[in-house]
Amino acid sequence: MPSTIPTAPGTPQLEDLVMNLKANGTAGTSSADGTIANRAHYAPPWADVSIIGIAGSSGSGKSTLSQAIVSKLNLPWVVILSIDSFYKSLDEEASRKAFRCEYDFDAPDALDFDVLVDRLRDLKAGKRADIPVYSFEKHARMEQTTSIYSPHVLILEGIFALHDPRVLELLDMKIFCEADADTCLSRRILRDQRERGRDVEGIIKQWFSFVKPNFEMFVDPQRKVADIIVPRGVENQVAMTMVTQFIQQKLLEKSTHHRAALTRLEIGALSEPLTPKVHIMNQTSQMRGMNTIIHDIDTSSEDFIFYFNRLSALLVEQALNNIFFTSQTIITPQNLPYRGLAPAGEVSAVVVLRGGAALEAGLHRVIPDCKTGRVLIQSNIRTGEPELHYQVLPKDIADHSAVLLLDAQMSSGGSALMAVQVLVDHGVKEERIVLVTYSAGRMGLHRLTKVFPDISVVVGNLCTDAEERWVERRYFRC
């Protein structure tokens, strides 16, 4: 099945923001703004998505071929985008025609190529793209959209996938599917009856008045720009293997580039001091006492969880010292003014699974009704490359005044980089992101703040650079 990544459904509205504020006693001496050394560049592996276009006559087996490619690759980052999603919404007259099967859906004019090109460019740039949803029953674009984010490979399939020159520019591989006209017609009759609620008479009328002439005029000429022409669709094993091998090669190249980029970011980690936006918790005797219990291999799991929860609440409290507040004067029960603070807006959290979930108990002690998104980033066992597998974020996350990003441990910084990139791609401003982690190494912190100098980071304690992720193993007991 194609793996489109769904967006978060509407989470309950956060009414009262519980604020636990310890006003920072020290007066703000002017900060080191603007003195941060040149920003390093990081491109996530999805920044340069490979797009494969599959065109061909209606019923030639484009969708089947796309799905076969996806299942053969067996990777979570391959998404099929059907060009059918980009049908133009019909006005009243066209709509009446459509219901009488007299509207020409098989001409390039029926498609909104401008929107398609826009969305493809967004995806190519590594951004999230909202794909329209088209209803064949109503002949109109639906209110809601589906969002696609971070695929490494995108398969664009549709009769006119190779039609628009602007689209062609974005494609990495162009495939044309070929099948006999009678095969196509019979497939189309079956499908339109079953899936699109049409009757046979209408389908045949459409075929001869639109599909066939359009095929000759617009569809068939696309074979001239195709890289490969695939006859017999999925049965064609040689073609299938060629396509999948090409894609696998592309993915391998990207993975190598990504890891090389991560390595480059290590330069300077040992010589340069950490930025003032990295806050390492004061090692008071309470902190060290709790750290001792947490680090002790002989601590019972019950104690471990208890003390980790206690400590994570302190981390979240400290993180809230880095969010934005506004002045607010209230009147006390004695009828006197007190000049306090209120958060500048909603504060939400994003948990980096699964380690970050260990900090959730602490989070909810501090903000009981905090909206919480999730991302799953896993390191590839073979290559060590972090990979984004899953993400659900609050819909309005770009409007929140602060987003706390929670992860139990940060070693190389690869998954933290990726998680911050995901937030930035969803419109969250860097200065509103506070990464909260129980322990981190200098290298990881350096990498992260080099690429994202405006985020703040709260760290429970500094550790060695290649620390294993033992906290989540202890916390979840597996």
Binding site: G28, S285, D298
Partner: protein, 205 residues
């Protein structure tokens, strides 16, 4: 009631942020008294090295000595949960002190304390520290049970400069841990701007 703000006001926020990005807010009144401390980090510790799950040593510490909580009823009881959230099986004693309507002086009505309290560090709990009248009486009770002054930590949420000075004179070795020092006291000895009657707000409203 004074309309003018006399409490100290400052720009607050992380140091790295520019002054223009920091909102102003009332901050704690500065009281130059040695026994006023800022955090619960005053229990005695010993160094304690452990082995971590990944096999390396961690140079840590552990807390020495036993503790007990003593809450001054009823407002002090509101702080018990906070204590239990940190120390699960902590012993908690209680002291009830009420104002004697005839003499207007605090009067001890009831106390129930752990038997071995003299061997423990005591965290005395009362969220509002105004003149400290009842707290002084509570400390006297603890001292009469053999708890030395230096092993008492008086924990409160809101303190007045007057109360703190009062205490510093009477119990120079006792440490006060407070979240915030408010502006002062009014003619009825309520903390201002304050937050009203704590017990009423926490329990009955």
């Amino acid at each position: 009631m004074s309309e003018t703000e006399v409490a100290p006001v400052k720009c607050v926020g992380p140091e790295y942020r520019a002054e223009s990005q920091k909102p102003t807010a009332t901050v704690s009144t500065v009281v130059n008294i040695d026994n006023l401390t800022e955090g619960l980090n005053h229990l005695p510790t010993v160094s304690h090295t452990v082995t971590t799950p990944v096999g390396r040593p961690y140079d840590g510490l552990s807390f020495q000595g036993k503790i007990a909580g003593v809450s001054i009823m009823r407002a002090g009881e509101a702080m018990e949960q906070g204590l239990r959230d940190c120390c699960r099986s902590v012993r908690i004693g209680k002291i009830l002190i009420q104002r004697d309507e005839e003499t207007a002086q605090p009067k001890l009505f009831y106390d129930k304390l752990p038997e071995d309290i003299a061997d423990r560090w005591v965290l005395l709990l009362d969220p509002m520290f105004a003149t400290g009248g009842s707290a002084i009486m509570a400390v006297d009770v603890l001292k009469s049970r053999g708890v030395p002054e230096e092993r008492i930590l008086f924990l409160n949420v809101l303190a007045s400069p007057e109360g703190i000075k009062n205490f510093a004179g009477k119990f120079p070795k006792l440490r006060v841990v407070t979240a915030f020092v408010d502006e002062g006291l009014d003619e009825k000895n309520y903390i201002i701007p304050g937050l009203g009657d704590f017990g009423d707000r926490y329990y009955t409203r």
